[in-house]
Structures are given as structure tokens and as C-alpha cells.
Symmetry: C2
Subunit: 506 residues, 2 copies
């Protein structure tokens, strides 16, 4: 993010070879190049003090003669200077230099000046840890959230985009902040078929990926100082969104039945991943589900249910969402980032009726609505069954990748590695019980040097609580071919050592 500064280069009005191009693009002048140079020259004389406020300019005839140009050109240039306020003119009189044109202000030190202008939100934002850098040409990056581009249904998506462009209305206008009616109707059907969610299209709001959904929840439900319940460990960008809004995290321990609900204090909201806890992979048990809903009802909290990879259950059928238990208390968050592409930025919320207007208005003020063409393309995808066929296809592929990763880890590390949460989703957690948690950052750095993206669980734990003693890593596999999985694990053996306490010592 270094910022070489181009300020000293002259603006393009000084550059001859550019003039014709600029004139073609922007100008309505008879001879735009000359007029632009005249405008610039007059401004320069004003800025340098050669022309002073109140000074009369040469007549258009004299100026034209001086420049060897037509009077039309001078008139156009003077008109421009008048419209910019450099010159003033009275009926019949010659143009004069306007009053109040000061010398350019001297600059302060922006680095020193600007921080004072940041809001509390902005300051909180800058206190959050930055994301891990991306590897450019990795042997294998096990970053969770990446998908293989070869899984993307290029032709079908192009077809759907083309149909969406042709289906357009006679006018292009800002659309419904809730999202395209076609998409919300199609999503209603999909949520009913695939997840057993019974809602109307008006309960759905289309957002730019689940992150925008979480951010809208943070803004609408949290004031500075408000407590929010957060799974520990949990999804870091959810925690960050709530912390940036000024919330105070109440970490809730996660075990094999999902997030624990005993003794939860009052809070404004609870963020949970009941179908597949991120990152540990447990499924929230039925009794915990009921306890969580009862707690929310008692304390007046809203539950945010992030169903980020509900489509991927390898061994058992998908679990019905919490939302089906208590639609008035639960905001359901869905996304196509794990089935189509994270770069499309398409997600959706199912919002309780009482919160709908607030979400619609927040979305409208935030960015009007989600881009329309891609919404319509997704609607077509859902309507004709392409989406569900695609989900079945990528589920098979990801089951293969998962198998390859499990086999490679087992072959490479044997009993030294303990795998958690591989039953569902697109990632697992690999624990190295022989290796202390404190070595996670050094291991990740060493893996990085070896071209492997290895992502510690550490940042997913609340920094104020005790975390497990062993080093653990979240390993996503949806972006990797089975060969890359094998190469990546081989490279890790060199970094970690077969014994878990092998030759790596930071």
C-alpha cells in the first residue's frame, strides 16, 4: 500500500498528445486543446499572482491574437473560467479576475492530522488484528473459504447472466432494498425444499454475502458496550463485526454438542453456527437448541444463525435450522459463497417480521441494494434446478477432497494428528497434541516459507479465555485438487515433522 505521489506531474490539460483524446471524450469546444491550454494558462497566472483579483483580462480579440487562435476559442475558454469562478463578468464589460482567490493553502502533515477525524468505529476497527496475508503461488493453501475455480459452472452462469441482461425492465432504476422479487421467491422455495424453512419472500433480504448480513445485524442490534454471545472458538469476522460496532464479547465454550448454553448472561444477540460449528464442526444438540431459544426469549436477545455451509453434510442429512424452531427470534444467514463463489458476494437473511423494515432501511442507506444482474442470474439458477444440481456435483467433489486430506494426514502423521469436525462442511481442524499451542504462529510462518498456507486456530479463540494446550490448524480443502492436497501435506511433514515434535523447532 505504498503511495508514490503523482501530485507534481502536470494535469493532462498540459499534455499535447493527450489533448485530442481528451477533447474527443469530454469537450464541446471548437478547438478544445487550445482552449484548455488557455484555461490552464490563465489559472496559472492567477495562482502565481501575475493576475490579481479585480484585474481586467485582455479582450477576446487581443487574447485570440496573442495565441493565434479564433475568438470563438477564447470565448469558450473565458466561459469555462467564469463557470469555475476564476473570472467574473458584467454585461458588456471585460472579464475581470474574481475576488477571494487565495494562494493554495499549505499542507499539514496528513499522517498527523487525520487520525483525529476517525470515528470511534474507525478507531475500534484499526485495533482489530489484520487478516493473514495471502500466498501468491502456493504449493497448497489450506485457507478455509477458497473454492476451486474449476468447480464454478462457467457456462451455466454465463447463460443465466445473459438471460438476466435480456430480461431487463424498460428503465434502469434503483431496485427494492430487500432484493429482486424473482430471487427472493426462488430462495423461499429453495429454503423450504433444502432446509425446511417456511417463510415468505418478504421475510428474505438479499445481501452482499453473509458478511454484510452480519454487519447489518451488528449495526441494527448493538450499541457500544452491549454484550453479545459469541461461540469460543468462533468465526473471526463475525466477532470483528460485533466488536467494531462497539459490542462486548461474551465467549461461550463449544463442546461436542455445539455451543454451551448454561448460565448465559443477558445479551443483545448471540452468534451461533448450529448446523456445523465453525471451526470445530459439532452439531448443536436439540436440547441446547431449545435452551438457547429459551434464553433468547427470556433476555430479549436475537439469535443470529449462520448456516454458512449447511449444504455440505457428508455423512448425515442436513439438520433443520434453528430458524424453524423460533422464526421470531432467529435471523438466519445463508450464502452462495461456499457453493458457487465467494467473489459473487451473494447472501441472504431470513429476518423476523418485526425487524424487516429496519433491515430494509439499513440496506437502502448502506448501498441501496445488491447488484441486480447477479441476483437475477441466481434466481434463474434456482428456478430451473441448476443450483441444486450444481450443489450435488460439488458436494461429491468436496467429499473426494475431504477423503484425500484425511488419507494424507493419516499417512503423514498417523496418531500424531487428531482430526475434528470432518463429518460435514468444507474444512476440518487438525490438532497436533504433541505440540504446544504457542508454536502455532511459528509453524504457520515456516509453512508459509515452504509455500503452504496453514491457518492456526489461535485467532478464533477469545483472547481473554484459556484455549486448548495443543497446536491446531483449520484446514479447508474446497479450493484444492486432490493432488495439491497431497503435495501440501507432504510439505507440511517437512515443516512439522512426522512425530509432531519432529525436526521443527522455532
Amino acid at each position: 500500500m505504498a503511495a508514490p505521489c503523482f501530485q507534481t506531474i502536470m494535469p493532462p490539460i498540459w499534455i499535447d498528445e493527450n489533448d485530442q483524446f481528451v477533447a474527443k471524450i469530454m469537450g464541446q469546444f471548437a478547438d478544445d486543446g487550445v482552449a484548455r491550454r488557455m484555461v490552464a494558462a490563465v489559472k496559472e497566472r492567477i495562482h502565481s499572482g501575475a493576475y490579481r483579483p479585480g484585474d481586467r483580462l485582455p479582450s477576446t480579440r487581443a487574447f485570440a491574437a496573442e495565441w493565434g487562435a479564433s475568438r470563438t476559442t477564447v470565448t469558450a475558454a473565458y466561459g469555462q473560467l467564469i463557470s469555475e469562478g476564476y473570472l467574473v463578468t458584467r454585461q458588456g464589460a471585460r472579464a475581470t479576475v474574481a475576488e477571494g482567490l487565495l494562494a493554495p493553502p499549505t499542507r499539514g502533515d496528513p499522517k498527523r492530522d487525520h487520525p483525529r477525524t476517525l470515528s470511534a468505529f474507525g478507531r475500534r476497527l484499526l485495533e482489530l488484528p489484520p487478516p493473514a496475508p495471502t500466498l501468491d503461488h502456493p504449493v497448497a493453501d489450506f485457507r478455509y473459504g477458497d473454492l476451486a475455480a474449476s468447480d464454478f459452472p462457467v457456462l451455466a452462469w454465463q447463460r443465466a447472466m445473459k438471460a438476466a441482461v435480456l430480461r431487463r425492465e424498460p428503465r434502469l432504476r434503483y431496485a427494492d432494498p430487500l432484493g429482486s422479487t424473482a430471487l427472493r421467491t426462488a430462495l423461499r422455495g429453495y429454503l423450504w425444499r433444502a432446509r425446511g424453512i417456511a417463510c415468505t419472500p418478504d421475510d428474505i433480504i438479499v445481501v452482499n454475502g453473509s458478511q454484510q448480513g452480519l454487519d447489518l445485524c451488528a449495526r441494527l442490534l448493538l450499541d457500544p458496550g452491549d454484550p453479545f454471545v459469541m461461540e469460543n472458538p468462533g468465526y473471526i469476522l463475525a466477532r470483528h463485526a460485533f466488536l467494531a460496532a462497539g459490542g462486548t464479547a461474551i465467549p461461550a465454550v463449544v463442546d461436542t454438542e455445539g455451543v454451551t448454553t448454561d448460565g448465559l448472561p443477558p445479551a443483545r444477540l448471540a452468534y451461533v453456527t448450529p448446523s456445523h460449528q465453525y471451526p470445530l464442526g459439532s452439531v448443536l444438540s436439540a436440547s441446547r437448541r431449545r435452551a438457547l431459544v429459551s434464553w433468547a426469549e427470556r433476555v430479549g436477545a436475537v439469535i443470529i444463525e449462520d448456516d454458512y455451509d449447511g449444504e455440505y453434510r457428508h455423512d448425515v442429512a442436513p439438520i433443520p435450522p434453528l430458524q424453524t424452531l423460533e422464526p421470531d427470534l432467529v435471523i438466519y444467514v445463508g450464502t452462495v459463497s461456499k457453493t458457487l463463489s465467494p467473489t459473487l458476494r451473494l447472501g441472504y437473511l431470513v429476518v423476523p417480521p418485526a425487524l424487516r423494515v429496519a433491515f430494509a432501511e439499513a440496506k437502502r442507506l448502506t448501498d441501496r441494494h445488491t447488484p441486480l444482474l447477479e441476483q437475477e442470474a441466481l434466481a434463474a439458477f434456482l428456478e430451473d434446478g441448476t443450483y441444486e444440481r450444481h450443489v450435488r456435483a460439488v458436494r461429491r467433489k468436496n467429499a473426494e477432497r475431504r477423503g484425500a486430506l484425511l488419507a494424507a494426514l493419516s499417512a503423514a502423521f498417523g496418531p500424531v494428528v487428531r482430526v475434528e469436525g470432518a463429518e460435514t462442511g468444507l474444512h476440518l481442524v487438525a490438532w497436533f497434541d504433541g505440540m504446544p499451542a504457542g508454536e502455532e504462529p511459528a509453524l504457520a510462518a515456516a509453512a508459509r516459507k515452504a509455500g503452504v498456507g496453514l491457518h492456526p486456530v489461535g485467532p478464533l479463540y477469545d483472547p481473554t479465555r484459556i484455549r486448548p494446550a495443543s497446536a491446531g490448524f483449520v484446514m479447508g480443502y474446497a479450493g484444492l485438487g486432490t493432488d495439491a492436497v497431497a503435495r501440501g501435506v507432504s510439505a507440511l511433514v517437512k515443516v512439522i515433522g512426522r512425530g509432531g515434535s519432529g525436526h521443527f523447532r522455532p
Copy 2:
């Protein structure tokens, strides 16, 4: 937004004809339909109290016989119930109903319960006036911001989208929150050629239309109670974004030289439209530009320069943006909503170096990044000159529409109408000096009945200040054919009356 409630309909696992479909989509069971019905039946018995916590379930053999199904199917169903936490099992023993399964909680009244959960931001949002409703099949809607769909370069955009899909990386991963490097590089060149802005690609952040840019500014620069300077009249969704963030508006009067700068009190930011004041159309004079920059420097404010239609100067060349005067104090806001389509949701900010990290982090937490395919398509559009050719073409078309509107207004109303700000942009303001401002809402309602979208200037004025005594309307023309312009104005004659004090009386 009425919400018929589907809660009483059974979820799809009960619907026989759906079963095969659901099974095909989601299941890995041998006979998914039967297993699903088993799962539902057991849950139903637990919820109704027929099975109680600790009860042992029938053996898989007995259950299979009861249902006439295979034991494999029963095992799958039990497995599902165990993974959802309804049943527990110990090695070798029969499954029993889990402890802690309460009856479904009774519902509170969501309408009464929920408002307490809204943040201060949410409550401020709901206090703002709602937007004007949209006309479905208008004779003509003079709503500013609409574009004619026939102006959209369908084929060229499809080509660019197709190229963008094919240009994809081997992995689909969350992209740079600042936006695609290709687009920011292309925008740097465009801003230099077209607007004289000298910046680096790293100074640019791609946003989902200018509204997201304004919202990011509001969040990063304003704390509740902070003053912000706002043109009066001015762009309503900018004012709303700053008010929703908790800011206090300082209205600054607009005259023929743009926003007035005398005696401005300290503020955290100033929102201005220097190239073409919205809605009155004046150009900020050079002396006011310098005064505004000096003020911002003195009080430590940031200037937000919304160059919302800088591409449309019909009579004079475009004015260099404020940003070129003091890049360290000015956030420049640009958009393609007025040149390509408001539904694409593509805009950009040029941000002072000292604020760049804060904007990037805010964008990342807000929605990760703007959708990538459309960024890449716009990059291709800019790189090969298509965008600038397109701008020239639509500028000509909009000049025609503007001519048609001016001619129709003049023919219909003669000296009764006073037109302001028609020199540039895609709208004008029509003042009816014989008609009091208080009649604006009734006139708009009457026009609406006649199928014409007519949009009063009233809401653009700060409600705490005195506004002009005459009724005035913002009339956008970019979404209308010249014939629709003529029809719309004819219809308005019937509503307003030729004399301005004609037959309309509310």
C-alpha cells in the same frame, strides 16, 4: 410487506410427493423419504410428550418391522436423530431420548418485543422519512437517477462479463477489499484523462455505488452528536446516511456559486457537489473552493466531494474536481450509476493516504469486497475505450432529452415555469413561482394519479431552515424517451394548470 405466515404448514419432510426430490438433492440415505418420515415421527413423539427424556427407543429391528422398512434405513434415521441431539446412545445399548428436551417455548408478541432490540442507529433510521413510492406503469416518471434501459450497452457488457468469467484465477477466494487491481488501475487512467485527478491505484477503493461510499464515510468520520456540513438543499440519501450515523446537520445555503462558505462552524466533514450542485445545478466557484479547503484545513474536517454526474456537462468543459486542489483533505466519490446503470452498484472513492487503511478495513468488515466479475467487466470496459465511447453516446442522447424537456416545459408553461440548473447533468429544477411551496405534496399526489412521477424539492431542504416560497420539482430526464417527456409534460399541464395557478386546487 404483508407477511402471510406459513408456520402451520408441515415442513417438507412430511410431504410425500416432495420426498423423492428432497432425497435426490440432499440425502445420502438408502431410502431417504422413509428415513425422513421416521426422523420426523420420532421428533413429533418427543415434542408431544409420547416419548420422554430417558425413554428407550424400539430396537432398529422392531422399528424396521413396524415401518416395513430396512434396518439400514432405521439406522440412518437414528443416526440423524443422534447427530441432532434428540437421542443419545452408548456402545451396544439401545438409543434413548436425550435429557433437557423442553416443550417448544411459547411465543411473545414479536411486535412488542423487538423494538427494544434495535440499536440507536436502527432507531434513528426508522425516524427518517421513507422514500417516495415507485410508479409501476407511469406515463412518465421524472424521478432523478433512472436511466433508459435502451441506453445500456447490452452486447458490449455481455462481452466484458464473459471475458471476466474466463479471465478467472485458478482459485475463487475473497479478493482485496480495495477492489480489483485491474479496475483500480483502469480507473486511475480514466480519472486522470477525464477529470485531471492524479492518484495511484492504491488511493482508490471500489464500492457498491456511491451510497456505500457515503455510508463508509459516515461510519468512519462521524460519532453521534458530531456536526457535518450539508448543502441546503442537498442530496437526501447523503444527509440520511450522516444522520443515521448520529451526526448533526449544519445546513449551508446554496446560491448561484454553489454552497456558501462564510462563517462555517467547525465540523467533522462537509458533503458537497462542486461540479454540479444537487439539485440546483450551480458550479462551486474557484474562490469558494479555496475557502472551503481552507476551512477544512483549519477545523480538521474532511471534504466529501460527490461527483455524481461529472460526465455530463452540456455547455462547458468539465470542472476539475476539488480533489485536485487538496488530495489530503478530500474524499472523491465517483459512480457509474449515471453512465451505465444504477443497478450495477459500482462506484469508487479516491481516499487520502492517511485514511486508506481505515476504509479498506471498513469495507472488508462491511462486505469483504465488491462483486469481482462486474469489477473486472468494468475494467475491460475502461481499458479498451468502450466506456468513454459509451459516455459520449449517452451524453448526446441525454442532451436531446434535455432539449425535449426544456422545449416541452416552455411550450406548456411559458414564463410560469422557471428552470434552474439545466446546463449540466441529467436533471433540472422546475420552479412554479405562482404556486406556494406548501402545494408541492398535493401536486405530486395529483400527478401520481395522472400517472406522472413528479418529485418535489421540499424533502431536499433542511427541515429546520426556511426554504424558497415557490413550489419546485426536480425533473430527471435520462430514463425517458423524448416522446415520454412530451406526454409527461402534457399530463402535468392538466395537473398544474397552464397559468401555474390554473385549475388545480387541492
